[in-house]
């Protein structure tokens, strides 16, 4: 099963409500994925600064202590805050490799959940409504966001095995489905310099898109290439710093419904997730066609 919700705001006046709307959408998808949940939020960013969202192997890990040590030993100028089991550390863009290397060396159990100027990802094991509450997602604002409720199939139920996955700066992906060629593709991508941290099939899809975009493709082109290179069934929703994309496999066995108004583009696994959105009564509602990339960019 699994459930996906995504919201891309066109009307900036709605940005303060992004977290609230995304939380409501996700709440209707709890039974599709009761194992874990995650939220990717594109909020405010600063030029030449990178936000690193980090988390321990599971909730209860002392992330505050990790942040203190990190600031003391490698990033004295960093600013940070803790949100439940995750911490967001803002550092100079040029210091990111140094911080990453330090973490790998000194706190290998800490995972960098996401890195980007605007992206923050919060994900945890638990019932999606509870996860949203722990992180207080409803209070967050931003331009676009993606959430996922997971019913695990291909790998274990852990914090790091939860969606969304981020394998590139300001990039994230959620997946409903399963991939059959993830093992071989993971090896190829690692050889090509893409960092893939888990045994999860969806992270491979995220890594694949990161490589395609690194090598010059646009988000739309990368999604299209995925149709040839990813074997299995999938509905993907992906986010970049300025964009939001959707693609389904050629059979389109996993559900997807979209809505668009002058104010937003919304994606959900089921129509019921869309019913709380403002102006949904008059929105254009459709099911995305198989093997067809859809994407939107912010001005």
């Amino acid at each position: 099963m699994c459930g996906i919700a995504g919201l891309f705001l066109k009307n900036r006046a709605l940005e303060p409500r992004l977290g609230e709307l995304l939380t409501k959408m996700t709440s209707t998808l709890c039974e599709r994925g009761p194992d874990s949940a995650g939220f990717a939020i594109y909020g405010v960013g600063q030029d030449s600064k990178t936000k690193l969202t980090i988390a321990g192997p599971k909730a209860g890990y002392d992330i505050e202590a990790a942040v203190k040590r990190l600031k003391r030993e490698v990033a004295p100028d960093a600013t940070s805050f803790v949100r439940y089991s995750h911490a967001v550390i803002t550092v100079d863009e040029k210091d990111v490799p140094k911080v990453e290397a330090w973490l790998e060396e000194n706190l290998p159990e800490v995972n960098i959940v996401s890195a980007g100027q605007r992206l923050e990802i919060f994900k945890e094991v638990g019932y999606p409504d509870d996860v949203a509450k722990y992180f207080d997602i409803a209070k967050m604002s931003g331009s676009h966001g993606i959430s996922h409720t997971r019913m695990a199939t291909e790998s274990a139920v852990t914090t790091n095995g939860s969606h969304p996955f981020s394998t590139g700066t300001d990039q994230c992906l959620v997946h409903n489905g399963s991939l059959s060629n993830h093992a071989s593709l993971r090896r190829t991508l690692r050889k090509d310099g893409i960092k893939i941290k888990t045994e999860n099939d969806s992270e491979v899809a995220a890594g694949y898109l990161t490589r395609q975009m690194r090598d010059g493709q646009t988000l739309g082109e990368a999604l299209k290439s995925g149709l040839d290179d990813l074997d299995g069934f999938f509905t993907f929703v992906v986010g970049t710093e300025s964009g939001f994309g959707v693609i389904r496999d050629p059979i389109a066995c996993k559900p997807a419904v979209m809505a668009e108004t002058d104010d937003y583009v919304a994606f959900a696994s089921e129509y019921k997730s869309l019913t709380g959105l403002p102006g949904i009564e008059t929105a254009k509602v459709w099911e995305p066609k198989p093997a067809t990339p859809y994407f939107w960019e912010r001005d």
Partner: protein, 229 residues
């Protein structure tokens, strides 16, 4: 006139109440409020009653329906009217994929669009969609009629048996063994009869429809194809 508010009562209680009805019940008008995309609303009903659902239904709404008239004042999720035997299901909005799947009888009307696999493995149901239908519709359709006012997606009627397909708009592609067939007078009369049941007989020009059916080449094993297996 029983009314079930699904914001307060679980869908199982609604369905259990519907299943308790005897064929001669005089509780013939039911309303369901706040469906909010709940799955399996009014599944397995076997009584000559009318059920009005005020809002959007989730998966399998009206599945296996016998005799009842079910009206969805909104959209329906996957598999609306799947395996229905008789009666009528009328979706005022859009229907998601696999609408009317394996339906054996009765009539399913969708005022909006139906998505992928509409009428997959249909076995006698009549499906009338006033908008478009998605890919792989009427896949392995064995019997019944599928009428589409708008367009059809890829691979219409793949591996079709004897279901008859009438599509007014363009068809993206035909599936294996599905061909366009001549629209003779008998087919026009058949279509007019079907459209009378939805009140569209005089609003829609039946000569604008094209008929699709099975080329019947996949019915029997062909030794020339042995190499393909």
């Amino acid at each position: 006139m029983p009314n079930f508010d699904l914001a307060k009562t679980p869908v199982r209680e609604l369905n259990a109440a519907l299943h308790r009805l005897s064929p001669s019940t005089n509780e013939t008008l039911w309303t369901v409020s706040n469906p909010c995309g709940e799955h399996s609303i009014a599944v397995g009903v076997d009584a000559d009653i009318t059920i009005n659902i005020h809002g959007n239904a989730g998966y399998f709404c009206g599945g296996m329906n016998k005799n009842a008239t079910i009206v969805v004042e909104g959209s329906a999720g996957q598999g609306v009217g799947e395996n229905m035997m008789s009666g009528l299901i009328h979706v005022k909005g859009d229907a998601s994929q696999s609408a009317g799947a394996t339906g054996r009888g009765g009539r399913l009307i969708v005022d909006g669009n139906a998505s992928a696999r509409c009428g997959i493995s249909m076995k006698g149901i009549d499906i009338i969609v006033k908008g478009d239908i998605g890919h792989l519709s009427a896949f392995m359709g064995q019997n019944g009629r599928l009428v589409v006012f708008g367009e059809a997606g890829e691979a219409l009627g793949d591996s079709l048996y004897e279901a008859r397909l009438y599509v007014r708009g363009p068809v993206a592609s035909l599936g294996a063994d599905c061909i366009q067939k001549e629209m003779r007078d008998e087919h026009k009369s058949e279509l007019i009869e079907l459209l009378k049941s939805t009140g569209d007989a005089f609003k829609v020009d039946v000569s604008e429809f094209k008929r699709y059916g099975s080329a019947r080449k996949l019915y029997n094993f062909n030794i020339d194809n042995a190499g393909a297996y």
